[in-house]
Symmetry: C2
Subunit: 295 residues, 2 copies
């Protein structure tokens, strides 16, 4: 995997209106598209994966969706792996609509994987998994997110069939077993059925790894939200080139760093972003290359 | 409430590509917009609430979102209450993006309430509730959905603080208490913090009513998915004009009925839709006006 060479960083593309550098024009969908495409270009040769955040584009309605499409198309053309962070979830034909709209071959908003919410149950996830299976793509299910509110419901202990109890997020991951198996890549052994396992919960990530050995993890919460690099890779496992098993997302710290905010020229902005991405990769590579104490 | 006179029907606007009548042109975002606007016009004087399904528009990307905007704008102009079925959910500034994008005063996709997913926790719901509070709008939280998969996680028994156990959907509803209170309308006493309580689970809906007395319910699963009118209003309570406390959604049976599929003229299509809406309202009104046996 190319993440072995460049590092496990996933570059979040989150166009916060108040943080978009003036360089890209007045805050709005056009500035978001120009900025997003520029961020994607900085990723080439520096990061393998990027993650556009649908909600921050969608705030501008159809014009924002059109900006999101431009970014996803540019990232796909650039050869990046695109995880669309849309956190969708619905039943039957609506889920099929989402699945085909994003993972389908004719998507105007092309991506390699999409984040989905498991609350509605396995039948709501099935259309996404089926489309991913057909297209050789991925589905990234929220298990244990990085926000404080993840404790409200995800961490509640639920009764298992065996009369024991385990946190809901583990229960969700366990229920996904057959789907994880279906999306397992024959070469790497890793599954395109990914799990969101926040950097703010390293112990929880290790627990998730025990019940979902082949699922790649998408780890949010590194950097801005307080998780360090070692916490972020807590759910990774030893592999030939160091610890592996997922990607670690950083958004503001790499695509909207303070150093890029003040940039007066495109060139200054580019070097600020390049530096931010490279710094994060170095930090994460150091973490995956050091042997970690076992829990 | 006008639903007392016309009935508690919420008309689902779900543009299934294979079911859009040929009358509106070849299946695609333009046909979806024309059909959706026409459905909305049939609601006037026949139903108070409509519910466009975001996923089925979004499958056409930005063009589909633009079609969704046309439908929501037409419904708002027509004076309908619009519940946008988007099932969004994210944290912090992303949730704010969604909240402002849909519930905000400058929304290009105006709606009176939006459906949201509680899995990520209360802090993920807060931006939606705060925006709804500012704008006098609503937020509709998935509690117990109507699909078979609702049993997978929503119905799992979780441990409560008191050492007892209750299904997750009840636990979610209980945790929403303060938010329900914040969105309570001073006149009606009902709260704009609504709960999704599927028609396929009348006992579950009665349970939800016990822990969330003031929450209006959005009831999916009536008609096509197998719930009857009496099951659909199981979570309603006695009021001056009959049982009240929510709206009951029907989608295919009212906006894509077989009788309208074959229509050769706009006039035939209109009268098929009018009849389908009126039939559903009569069915539901009979249910809310008959005293129901207490569980």
């Amino acid at each position: 995997m190319a993440t072995r060479a460049l590092g496990p960083l996933c570059v979040g593309v989150d166009p916060h209106p108040a943080l978009l550098p003036a360089l890209f024009g007045p805050p709005g969908p056009d500035a978001a598209a120009r900025w997003g495409v520029a961020v994607v270009e900085r990723c080439v040769g520096r990061a393998v994966v990027c993650k556009p955040q649908a909600g921050l584009f969608e705030r501008w309605g159809a014009a924002g969706m059109s900006a999101l499409e431009r970014v996803c198309q540019a990232a796909t053309r650039a050869g990046l792996v695109v995880i669309l962070d849309a956190k969708r979830g619905d039943i039957g034909s609506t889920a099929e609509g989402y699945a085909k709209g994003y993972l389908g071959p004719d998507s105007s908003c092309p991506c390699d994987a999409i984040t989905v919410n498991p609350y509605m149950g396995l039948d709501a996830l099935e259309p996404f998994v089926a489309e991913a299976e057909r297209q050789g793509k991925g589905v990234c299910v929220l298990a244990r997110t990085s926000n404080p509110g993840s404790a409200d419901f995800q961490s509640k202990r639920v009764e298992t069939a065996e009369g024991a109890a385990e946190p809901l997020y583990l229960h969700v991951a366990r229920a996904l077993g057959p789907m994880i198996e279906r999306l397992r890549g024959p070469e790497t052994g890793w599954s395109g059925l990914m799990l969101v396992a926040g950097a703010t919960g390293p112990a929880e990530a290790r627990g998730l790894r025990e019940v979902a050995r082949e699922a790649l993890f998408l780890v949010p919460g590194y950097g801005e939200q307080g998780g360090g690099a070692r916490e972020a890779v807590a759910g990774f496992v030893d592999g030939p080139g160091g610890r592996e098993g997922g990607v670690v997302n950083a958004s503001r710290s790499v695509s909207l760093p303070g150093s890029a905010q003040a940039a007066n020229s495109a060139r200054d902005w580019e070097s600020a972003i390049d530096q931010a991405i490279e710094t994060a990769q170095r930090d994460l590579l150091a973490a995956v290359r050091s042997r970690m104490p076992q829990a």
